[in-house]
Amino acid sequence: MPAVTETIETVQSVAEGGYKWGFETDIEMEFAPKGLNEDIVRFISKKKNEPEWLLEWRLKAFALWKTMKEPDWAAVNYPPIDYQDAYYYAAPVQKAGPKSLDEVDPELLKTYAKLGIPLKEQAILAGVEGAGESPADGRLPIAIDAVFDSVSVATTFKGRLEKEGIIFCAISEAVQNHPDLVRQYLGSVVPQADNFFAALNSAVFTDGSFVYIPKGVRCPMELSTYFRINAKSTGQFERTLIIADEGSTVSYLEGCTAPMRDENQLHAAVVELVALDDASIKYSTVQNWYPGDAEGKGGIYNFVTKRAACRGKRSKVSWTQVETGSAITWKYPSCILQGDDSVGEFYSVAITNNRQQADTGTKMFHIGKNTRSTIVSKGISAGFGQNTYRGLVRIGAKATGARNFTQCDSLLIGDQCGAHTVPYIENRCMSAKTEHEATTSRIAEDQLFYCRQRGLSEEEAVGMIVNGFCREVLKELPMEFAVEAQKLLQISLEGSVG
């Protein structure tokens, strides 16, 4: 790219408040009528051609949701949400299974190009069969499921994965092709009545990814889902279900972006992970929903329920999250450590700048013997941001030899932001051991001075120090994601210094 163009683009991206994913795709969309009622639930179910049991399941969730109260214990403030003033189904009008690039809506193609997904992958993303199975540039391939508003528009590398017996597809597709698996596991980790937002999701979820890794299989590539909210006045309610059968291993990544708008949009997802004996799941998230402008106007409300059941002996689930986007984040990826010797991990970086609010953390339930958990949380507050770590470590009476280590560090940049830590530790087992430590501080003057002295600008210096502060978490990310995440941290903090 010529230097001039690059400069212009850089200037533009700064002018836009640094959020370069904030464009809107103008594409023909199909909507369900606005509002939320039983008919909408039926409409979604019918649209997806779902079996009767799933419709019943959704209706039960909807009935439960109507009796539930929106939670108010999190340290976040937002005006009441009108659940009737949104579309619960929005999908681009598209012919099923385009065979070549020409058949795919060019607007969709452009969207992926603009989102920075490499051209090679872009062809794959749009669902062209046979393309990109062996990438020419020698990079490790990543299989991608692309979710655009309410539907999955494409899943790549399906053929390659099927050879290994791996199922990777949109959950609506799994309902059609693998109903028994879906029926067995759906809601088994996050039941319909788990919480207000999970119940809402259970009633109206539209798409998301489904992954099944058979016994003894090590998934040959990273699996990834890219979530994009595009349409106005919509909410995104995706549901992801990952099952790792005995002795299998999988690494899964998710990313998300949304256009810049003055209105707030709701994202209420549910993610369920099941790990059987000796299975291992690594789940990484780079959450980059539109955070709203500097005055706190607009942005995504991100109310997400993520939970993993380590059902098998020696099973392992590792959550890694980099939370830079969203006006409000309400998210507690958890592990239920049922199997003896199972392991749960949670690595998190959460950044709040301008008027962003984040209330995030994890829950570790130690049930089986010798279960282990590690929690490393790094919170960064800048501008008027409020950042809360909220977590629970519960050790049951039978979890002999269980072990937990928790570390929560907060960094404050500027004197108008807040950093809060609310851990709960409940230990009922004598031979178990829990350790928790938390610190809060700001960037030390001497660190800044040292960097400035070596010719770095203040902003660069802060970026470097923040990256160092987050290092323990970032190193848990798959490599390409880690590079992306580092850049994201820098962008998120733009304008917070000086």
Binding site: C417, G418, Y424, I425, N427, C429, M430, T434, E437, A438
Partner: protein, 413 residues
């Protein structure tokens, strides 16, 4: 809320029958309003998630007997003392001339806020007596004892003393508070302290809670600390079937300091809760907290500690540590340390650990010929030392050591 659904109904009825001393008027109205509105907190209330007050709401408490008891008193330790028997201040047994609470009108109800602290609201609604200790500016008052004794004859009484402690500029005092009562009597002791520490004043407050094994102990200490002042609190929670000890302190002037340390010794069938709330409201203040809990038999320990740093409180230095030792398979520890920070130039940290005695340490001692029982005692003592070391006054320290040893002997027997 209608009267039927209010779990503090029995207390409200009792308040109606009470004569109101002149000093208590406004306070009582405040307390009654709060109590009538919200009752006693249930476990649905976040601050009472781990401590269930329903046995207290259900219990039937009687009034103190008309005849004044003359119990045997522990040997005096300080320069002077104030003695409460069955909840009433006894001038005849005290060696310090008591001052009436009506003199404390400027302080009463201004340090605590009944609307947010339900156990203080209960006290406000029912307080009949209390002490007022006023240390004028510049006076070094030395060691003063506050003794509370419940007699067997009193039966299951409920008493709610309201204590006011005021230190003028540059004054100092060491207050040693002891609470004792008979085992097997389900009485309720619900003391509230309002403490005002003046500029540059120093208050060291050591509390030894050894209430009877069937008793309920619901206590709250509320302190305001002015510039350069220091408030040191050490609380030993060793008695009562259900003990909740709340400490609320606000650092209101620059360079003020607050230390809150404590030990909880929780035997079979007991529940002990230490809840602290520390508000850094001014710049350049420091706070230190160390709490240790030892749990034996079927018991439950709770620690909740919150540090709030306001935006004005730049250059705050806050530290909090809570550790628990589980000596039995049936013990449970719940901890909730909490930081809420709105200032950026701060250094705040907290730590929490829960675990059993270290087998390697035990092995080390035994390999040197120390019998297992003694080795355990030694390790528990060592575990508590870090917290107890915060008590500088030798007399208080000796009293604490004695109480800890007493508990351990009872445990080992």
């Amino acid at each position: 809320m209608n009267a039927m659904s209010n779990n503090a109904e029995a207390f409200l009825r009792r308040a109606e029958a009470l004569a109101t001393p002149a000093w208590a008027g406004a306070l009582r109205r405040q307390g009654l309003d709060a109590l009538a509105k919200s009752g006693l907190p249930t476990r649905r209330a976040e601050a009472y998630k781990y401590t269930d007050l329903s046995p207290i709401a259900r219990a039937e408490f009687g009034a103190a007997p008309a005849a004044l008891a003359r119990p045997a008193l522990p040997a005096p330790r300080g320069r002077a003392r104030l003695v409460f028997v069955d909840g009433l201040l006894r001038a005849d047994l005290s060696t310090l001339p008591p001052r009436p609470l009506s003199d404390a009108a400027a302080v009463l109800g201004t340090v605590e806020n009944s609307a947010v602290t339900p156990v203080a609201a209960l006290n406000a609604a029912l307080a009949e007596d209390g002490m007022f200790l006023d240390i004028p500016a510049g006076e070094q008052a030395g060691l003063i004892e506050l003794v509370s004794i419940v007699t067997e004859a009193a039966g299951p009484i409920a008493f709610h003393p309201r204590h006011v402690l005021r230190l003028g500029q540059g004054a100092s005092v060491t207050l040693l508070e002891t609470c004792q009562g008979p085992d097997g009597v389900a009485y309720l002791h619900n003391p509230v302290f309002e403490v005002v520490v003046g500029e540059g004043a120093t208050c060291a407050h050591t509390r030894i809670q050894q209430e009877g094994g069937s008793a309920y102990f619901l206590s709250s200490v509320h302190a305001r600390i002015a510039a350069g002042g220091t408030y040191d609190n050490f609380t030993l929670n060793a008695g009562a079937k259900l003990a909740r000890n709340e400490i609320h302190a606000a650092l209101e002037g620059p360079k003020a300091a607050c230390h809150m340390n404590g030990a909880q010794l929780v035997g079979d069938g007991r529940h002990a809760d230490s809840t602290t709330f520390l508000h850094h409201a001014a710049p350049d203040c420091a706070s230190r907290q160390t709490y240790k809990t030892v749990l034996a038999g079927r018991s439950r320990g709770v620690f909740q500690g919150k540090i709030l740093v306001s935006q004005a409180a730049q250059r705050t230095d806050g530290y909090q540590m809570n550790q628990a030792l589980l000596l039995s398979e049936d013990a449970e520890m719940d901890a909730k340390p909490q930081l809420e920070i709105y200032a950026d130039d701060v250094k705040c940290s907290h730590g929490a650990t829960v675990g059993a005695l270290d087998e390697a340490q035990l092995f080390y001692l035994r390999s040197r010929g120390i019998p297992e029982k003694e080795a355990r005692a030694m390790l528990v003592q060592a575990f508590l030392t870090e917290a107890v070391d915060g008590v500088a006054d030798e007399t208080c320290r000796a009293a604490l050591d004695e109480a800890v040893m007493g508990w351990w002997r009872e445990m080992a027997a």
